[in-house]
C-alpha cells in the first residue's frame, strides 16, 4: 500500500464518521480537527474502524499519530504493509 492509498482508506473512514463534512479539500498537512468537526469520540471511531475494517490496532499512547492525513499515512502505511505481508 502506498501512502496515498493509506490516506484514501482513512478518508473513507472519516466520510462515514463525519457524514456532514465536505472532504474534497482536506489539507493533508493540517490537523484534521482544525478542518472538520471531529470530537474525541470521533477519534475513537477512527481507531475502532481501523480495527474493524483493517485489523489495525492503534495503542492509546499513539493516538496523536492520527492528527493529520500526512501523519496518518506516515504511521499507518507500514502497519497496512506489515499486515499484507503476513496474509
Amino acid at each position: 500500500m502506498t501512502q496515498d492509498q493509506c490516506k484514501a482508506a482513512v478518508l473513507a473512514i472519516i466520510a462515514d464518521i463525519a457524514p456532514d463534512e465536505d472532504l474534497s479539500d482536506i489539507k493533508p498537512d493540517v490537523r484534521l480537527r482544525d478542518q472538520i468537526d471531529l470530537d474525541s469520540m470521533d477519534f475513537l471511531d477512527i481507531v475502532m474502524e481501523l480495527r474493524k475494517r483493517h485489523g489495525i490496532e492503534v495503542p492509546e499512547a499513539e493516538y496523536g499519530q492520527l492528527a493529520s492525513l500526512d501523519s496518518c499515512a506516515e504511521y499507518l502505511t507500514p502497519k497496512f504493509n506489515a499486515l499484507a505481508a503476513k496474509s
Binding site: D16, D20, D37, M41, M48, R51
Partner: protein, 413 residues
C-alpha cells in the same frame, strides 16, 4: 387546584405511524386510516408494527443520527415541531429555565441488542464493543439528546413509567411549572420499541402479541377476535406553560391541565387491576373538581389483549357507568398500535382537536364487539359528532401496576 398556577398546552409536535403532524394524525384518525405495517423483526420474522416515517434530517445532522439513538431522533423531531407550533421565540428564552420531561417505557434495549448482534460478528471479542454504548443506553438518553440539540441547560430527563409514561411526562411538567422550577416545558413521551426483538418476543411469550394476516387489522381493542398488542414506535411532545406566561406572549392554547392522578396496583407484575384503575380515574376527577358526567371523551388505554381490555372496561363501567349521557369513549391503538412510552401523549393529542370540531374519533377494527367491552358511549368504527367537548380524560396504564389518568379541559380564558 384553585391556588396553583393554571397550566396550558401551547404547542404539539408528534410523529405517529399514521401521521407526522397533529393535522395529519387527526385527519387519519377521523378517516379511519391505520398506520400499522409488517416489518421484519430479528429472530422472529414478519410482525405487525407501527412505524413512523418522519424525516429526521429535517432537524438533525447526519452525524447526530449516527451517534444518537432512534428515541433521540424522535424526541428532537417532536421537540422542534412542538416549538414551531407553539410560536414561542425560543432563542430568547433563558435556556436554564426550560425543562424537558420525556416519558419512556424502556430505553437501551435497542442499542444493547444491536451491539450484542454486532459483537457476534467479531466472535464476541469486546474490544469491538462500541464506545457509544453507554451514552446511547443511559435512561436519560432521549431527553439528553434533545437538550444537546436545543442548547437547553435546565432539567432534562426521562421518566420511566412503563406504558403510562406519556401521561407522566405531561403531569411531571405541570408539577414543575407549578413549583416554579422551570418557566417553559417540553414534555410527553417517546418510543423506539419496534427496533428491539425483545419487546416482541416478551409479549409473545406472555401470549400477548398480536397476529393477523392483515397488519392494519391486527390492533383491534374491544373486538372479540383481538389477540394481542401491536408494538409501535412514535413520539409526542407538548409545550406547556403557565397561563400567565402564555397570555403574555399571546400564545394559542390547545387546552388546560385540569387534573391528574398516578397510582400503583401493588398487586401483580403484569396483570392490570381494575379497582386501582377506577381509583386512579376517580382521584383525577376529584383533583379536577369534576364528576364523571363532566368528562365528554375518555380515551382508553386498551391494548387489544383479551384480558386487559375487559379489565379496563370493568374499571370504566365502575366510574362512568352511571348517569353520563354525554361521555364518549374511544381508543387510538386500533390505528397506531401500542406506542409504549409515547402512547399516552399521542392518544391525548389525537383527541385535543375535538375541543374545536366536536368530533370524537372512533376506535376502528371492531367487527364483532365483545359483549364484555360493550361500554355505553363507545364510539365504534365511525366518527361521532357530539354536542359538547369540555373535558377529556386520558387513561394510560403500565406494567408493574402503574396507572395514570390525565384530564385536559377546553380552555376558557
Amino acid at each position: 387546584m384553585p391556588s396553583l398556577p393554571r397550566i396550558v398546552i401551547t404547542g404539539v409536535g408528534l410523529t405517529a405511524p399514521n401521521g407526522d403532524s397533529l393535522p395529519e394524525f387527526r385527519g387519519n384518525l377521523l378517516a379511519g386510516v391505520s398506520g400499522v405495517e409488517t416489518i421484519e423483526v430479528r429472530y422472529m420474522g414478519p410482525q405487525p408494527a407501527g412505524v413512523c416515517h418522519f424525516d429526521p434530517l429535517k432537524y438533525q445532522k447526519k452525524k447526530e443520527m449516527r451517534v444518537g439513538t432512534r428515541a433521540g431522533s424522535i424526541s428532537i423531531y417532536c421537540a422542534r415541531e412542538a416549538l414551531a407550533d407553539s410560536g414561542v421565540d425560543f432563542p430568547s428564552l433563558p435556556k436554564d429555565r426550560v425543562g424537558i420531561y420525556i416519558g419512556c417505557t424502556e430505553h437501551g434495549n435497542v442499542e444493547t441488542e444491536n451491539e450484542v448482534y454486532a459483537l457476534s460478528k467479531f466472535n464476541y471479542d469486546v474490544k469491538f464493543w462500541s464506545h457509544y454504548h453507554n451514552p446511547r443506553t443511559v435512561a436519560n438518553n432521549p431527553a439528553g439528546e434533545t437538550s444537546l440539540h436545543l442548547g437547553v441547560t435546565g432539567p432534562a430527563y426521562t421518566i420511566g413509567a412503563a406504558c403510562a409514561a406519556g401521561n407522566l411526562g405531561l403531569i411531571h411538567a405541570a408539577q414543575m411549572l407549578r413549583l416554579g422550577e422551570v418557566d417553559f416545558a417540553l414534555c410527553g413521551g417517546v418510543s423506539e420499541s419496534i427496533r428491539t426483538f425483545g419487546i416482541f418476543a416478551g409479549f409473545k411469550s406472555q401470549g400477548a402479541l398480536a397476529a393477523h394476516s392483515d397488519p392494519q387489522r391486527a390492533s383491534r381493542p374491544f373486538d372479540k377476535a383481538r389477540n394481542g398488542i401491536v408494538v409501535s414506535e412514535g413520539g409526542c411532545l407538548y409545550t406547556l406553560e403557565r397561563l400567565d406566561d402564555a397570555h403574555r406572549r399571546g400564545a394559542k392554547v390547545y387546552g388546560e391541565i385540569a387534573g391528574y392522578c398516578v397510582n400503583s396496583d401493588a398487586s401483580d407484575y403484569v396483570l392490570p387491576n381494575p379497582g386501582r384503575q377506577a381509583e386512579c380515574m376517580r382521584k383525577a376527577l376529584a383533583v379536577a373538581g369534576m364528576g364523571p358526567s363532566d368528562i365528554h371523551i375518555v380515551n382508553t388505554h386498551a391494548t387489544s389483549t383479551p384480558l386487559g381490555d375487559i379489565q379496563e372496561c370493568q374499571a370504566m363501567a365502575a366510574v362512568f357507568g352511571g348517569d353520563c349521557p354525554d361521555t364518549w369513549i374511544n381508543n387510538t391503538k386500533s390505528y397506531i398500535g401500542h406506542a409504549m412510552g409515547a402512547a399516552g401523549a399521542l392518544e391525548l393529542a389525537g383527541n385535543l382537536p375535538a375541543f374545536g370540531d366536536l368530533v370524537v374519533h372512533p376506535t376502528i377494527n371492531v367487527d364483532d364487539l365483545d359483549p364484555e367491552c360493550a361500554l355505553r358511549g363507545l364510539v365504534v368504527n365511525q366518527p361521532r359528532k357530539v354536542g359538547r367537548v369540555d373535558a377529556i380524560l386520558n387513561n394510560s396504564f403500565g406494567m408493574l401496576g402503574i396507572n395514570s389518568a390525565l384530564i385536559v379541559k377546553r380552555f376558557v380564558g
